[in-house]
């Protein structure tokens, strides 16, 4: 065991994967010599050589498209999109190509690649460094979408993603890179080194894709969240005084509906929490599924708390995304419904 930040855990996962399998290659803007703007790949080029970890031109479609060709050849590319917001230039390659290659070639060609992208806000990144485009990706069949919430999961999930035979989108909540975050920007950040989930096992292990985990046991309501919002949910539950169960989804697609249904059927109430904008967001899918699976056990309508339907406002970041106060208020209202 070692104490690590999420950045270190991600780097450790890449190190373990590259050390074990010469077909794993890592590339993207600035990831080679410099080690990436968030330093997730620092040291990998020095250790594995510049043909296995290298810098690319600033062309996201090129990064993903080249990765698809490499995956079709038989390598396992792990590419970095510098910010999830820059996924859009690569969207055609992700949606029309990576996601469909196995299907359209009837299994003759496959695309075992991982597309890493720092996601979410809370670092004053403005509207082009703060987005959470997961709904645009979970809508695409053929992709798997993963969002870790802590260093231990980040390493295990990333190793599972690299070993997965299909394209995996790996969204890294950048607000969690250096420590957990409870939604209070004006409080000192807790360091991962003092958090139990900052304890990262050494060497190889995986956290299976498609398995959620209960972060807090509770009886009065279920909060479904992922990434940064798991920590906000935990803070909000304490603030609200509501004995809510908090589920960390970890993988958005495939989704662990079993864990969700077991919890909601127990508590009878469900709040869906995410940082991305509300309308047509991933929360809509969760709410619909919970309604379909748990309708007769529900004692109140499923509630959603999400980012407002505006672009991410630089100055008003703290008013924009769901903090503990908003979530706590929603929780209290949820349990008040007779």
């Amino acid at each position: 065991m070692a104490r690590m930040t999420m950045i270190e855990a991600i780097r450790d996962a890449l190190d373990v994967a590259m050390g074990a399998d010469p077909s794993v290659v890592v590339f993207g803007e600035d990831v080679g010599y410099f080690g990436g703007v968030f330093r997730c790949t620092a040291g990998l080029q020095a250790k594995y050589g510049k043909t296995r970890c290298f810098d690319t031109p600033i062309n996201e479609s090129g990064i993903v498209g080249a990765g698809i060709g490499m995956a079709a050849y038989g390598l396992k590319p792990v590419v970095e999109i510098q910010f999830a917001d820059y996924m859009y230039p690569a969207y055609d390659q992700i949606v029309s190509e990576a996601a469909r290659l196995r299907y359209r070639s009837a299994g003759q060609f496959t695309c075992p690649m991982v597309i890493r992208m720092p996601t979410g806000g809370g670092i004053f990144g403005g509207q082009t460094h703060s987005q959470s485009p997961e709904a645009l990706l979970t809508h695409v069949t053929g992709l798997k979408t993963v969002v870790p919430s802590n260093p231990r999961d980040a390493k295990g999930l990333l190793l599972a993603a690299i070993e997965d035979p299909d394209p995996v989108i790996f969204m890294e909540p950048k607000r969690l890179y250096n420590g957990p975050f409870d939604g209070h920007h004006d409080r000192p950040v807790t360091a991962w080194k003092s958090h139990e989930l900052g304890e990262v096992p050494e060497g190889h292990y995986t956290v299976p894709l498609g398995k959620a985990v209960v972060r807090r046991q509770g009886r009065a309501a279920t909060v479904l969240s992922y990434g940064t919002m798991v920590h906000v949910a935990l803070a909000a539950v304490e603030e609200s005084g509501v004995d809510a169960e908090v589920i960390d989804l970890r993988t958005l697609l495939p989704l662990d509906m079993e864990t969700i249904a077991a919890s909601v059927n127990k508590t009878g109430r469900c709040l869906v929490l995410h940082e991305a904008t509300l309308t047509s967001g991933y929360g809509a899918e969760l709410a619909a599924l919970v309604q379909a699976e748990c309708f007769w056990q529900l004692e109140a309508p499923v509630r959603r708390v999400a980012g407002w339907d505006t672009p991410y406002p630089h100055t008003h970041e703290w008013s924009y995304f769901p903090g503990p106060a908003r979530v706590a208020e929603a929780l209290r209202q949820l349990v008040e419904v007779a």
């Binding site: 077909s23 290659v25 043909t51 296995r52 690319t56 031109p57 062309n59 479609s61 090129g62 498209g65 080249a66 990765g67 698809i68 060709g69 490499m70 079709a72 050849y73 038989g74 390598l75 590319p77 230039p89 055609d92 390659q93 029309s96 190509e97 469909r100 290659l101 196995r102 299907y103 359209r104 070639s105 009837a106 299994g107 003759q108 060609f109 496959t110 069949t141 053929g142 798997k144 997965d164 035979p165 299909d166 498609g210 697609l253 495939p254 989704l255 509906m257």
Partner: protein, 417 residues
């Protein structure tokens, strides 16, 4: 800030390029400068790209009007009579296959078809420069790559008819073939996406210390797509072992090639800014295509990096069965095309060599037609779009992922499978 003086600066106006001639006009290719066969030099494969910039603005040609193979590109060819005869047969097969499949579409046996008429030399010749294990990333007009690689015609037809033996299991539009074994990557309907993928595949081969190369394919119109430029920058940066092929058949559906080309002198010239050796070749000359393809493949194999090749040709047929070319270009334009017909030109060469004759050509046509008719009968006996046996719809749910996730399994059960 002062407003510009309208006397000094008259109002701006937008430039929208137009082809020389529209329907009703007289076809005119006088603007296409065509050097005599055999007159363009053949540099060594390790030539400095800077020293061969002129090859992006000329047209490399081998076969002259008399059917002779002339000049330095012919001398470097090293081709046997058997290979020449095979090349002719591949092109004839593609043309007859095209005609039969076009007809099958008119008979509603399939939804859609795309012909190669006039462009047969490009894919048929190029494939002969590749080795087993190399990979093409084709568009929808390179079926000749499959024919020249020995892919069964019946498999191609099964794909066209989406029948029970369709290798793509009824999931792809007709003509979107794919065969890993025959070096033919899965075709996407989204244009240019495969160009950068080909570069990535070549990079992977180099990373792995392999000796396989790849070939990227694109049409003149699609060079306007961003992924074309992504491919050039990646290929140039990493000196990927890839041959970057642009088939300039003059028309992107109804849009003439000048729209995509912009101010560049030629499509090949696009490679010059990236330091990529760029050649322009007569796409209706089987021997010229083969010579240039071998040169470019040799460069890639010797780790000398990418080559960009523009094939100057003419799409004699419609873009697809959904297209009517007479609405946007003179009907006689295809016959006025100055580079002639690729099959006729190679045929004349073989006759000039004394290894072929009109009689044998007719006989070969009859043989190929019989072979294709036979394959078509077998394919149709299995099924066509609206009749016979089709892949099971249960297979619709397979291959979305390597392992079917629970939500999809649930949907498959809901669908009754």
């Amino acid at each position: 800030m002062q407003r510009p003086d309208p006397d000094e600066y008259p109002p701006l106006s937008l430039v929208v390029p137009e082809p020389e001639v529209r329907p009703g006009g007289q076809p005119d290719f006088s603007h296409v400068a065509i050097p005599r066969a055999g007159t363009v030099r053949r540099p060594d494969v390790d030539a400095d790209p800077e020293g061969i910039r002129d090859l992006a603005f000329t047209i490399i040609r081998v076969l002259n009007r008399e059917g002779q193979a002339v000049g330095p590109w012919a001398e470097g060819l090293d081709i046997t009579p058997e290979e020449l005869l095979a090349g002719l047969r591949h092109m004839m097969t593609l043309r007859i296959y095209d005609a039969r499949m076009l007809n099958a579409q008119r008979q509603q046996k399939t939804s859609f078809y795309m012909q190669h008429l006039g462009e047969e030399a490009i894919s048929c010749a190029f494939q002969r420069a590749l080795a087993p294990g190399d990979m093409n990333f084709p568009t929808y007009r390179q079926a000749g790559l499959l024919i020249a690689a020995g892919y069964p015609l019946s498999s191609m037809m099964n794909q066209i008819f989406s029948n029970a033996e369709d290798p793509m299991l009824g999931r792809q539009l007709p003509v979107c073939y794919s065969s890993r074994e025959h070096g033919f990557f899965s075709i996407s309907g989204n244009l240019a996406t495969q160009f950068i993928q080909a570069v990535g595949w070549a990079m992977a081969s180099a990373i792995s210390g392999d000796c396989k190369i790849s070939a990227a394919w694109i049409g003149d119109g699609s060079t306007a797509e961003s992924d074309f430029h992504a491919a050039l920058v990646f290929a140039s940066t990493y000196k990927a072992p890839v041959v970057l092929n642009i088939v300039n058949n003059q028309w992107a559906i109804s849009t003439f090639q000048g729209i995509a080309r912009g101010g560049a002198g030629t499509f090949a010239a696009r490679g010059l800014g990236f330091g990529i050796p760029s050649l322009r070749v007569d796409g209706n000359d089987y021997l010229a295509v083969l010579a240039v393809a071998k040169w470019a493949a040799e460069r890639a194999r010797r780790n000398l990096g990418p080559t960009l090749v523009e094939y100057v040709t003419y799409r004699a047929g419609g873009h697809s069965t959904s297209d009517d070319p007479s609405a946007y270009r003179p009907a006689e334009e295809s016959t006025a095309w100055p580079l002639g017909d690729p099959i006729l030109r190679l045929k004349n060469h073989l006759i000039a060599l004394g290894i072929w004759s009109d009689e044998r050509h007719q006989q070969a046509e009859a043989e190929i037609l019989a072979e294709i008719t036979e394959a078509q009968k077998r394919a149709e006996a299995i099924g066509t779009l609206h009749h016979g046996q089709h892949p099971s719809p249960a297979g619709m749910f397979e291959d979305v992922y390597a392992e079917m996730p629970p939500h999809l399994l649930k949907q498959r059960h809901e669908a009754g499978f």
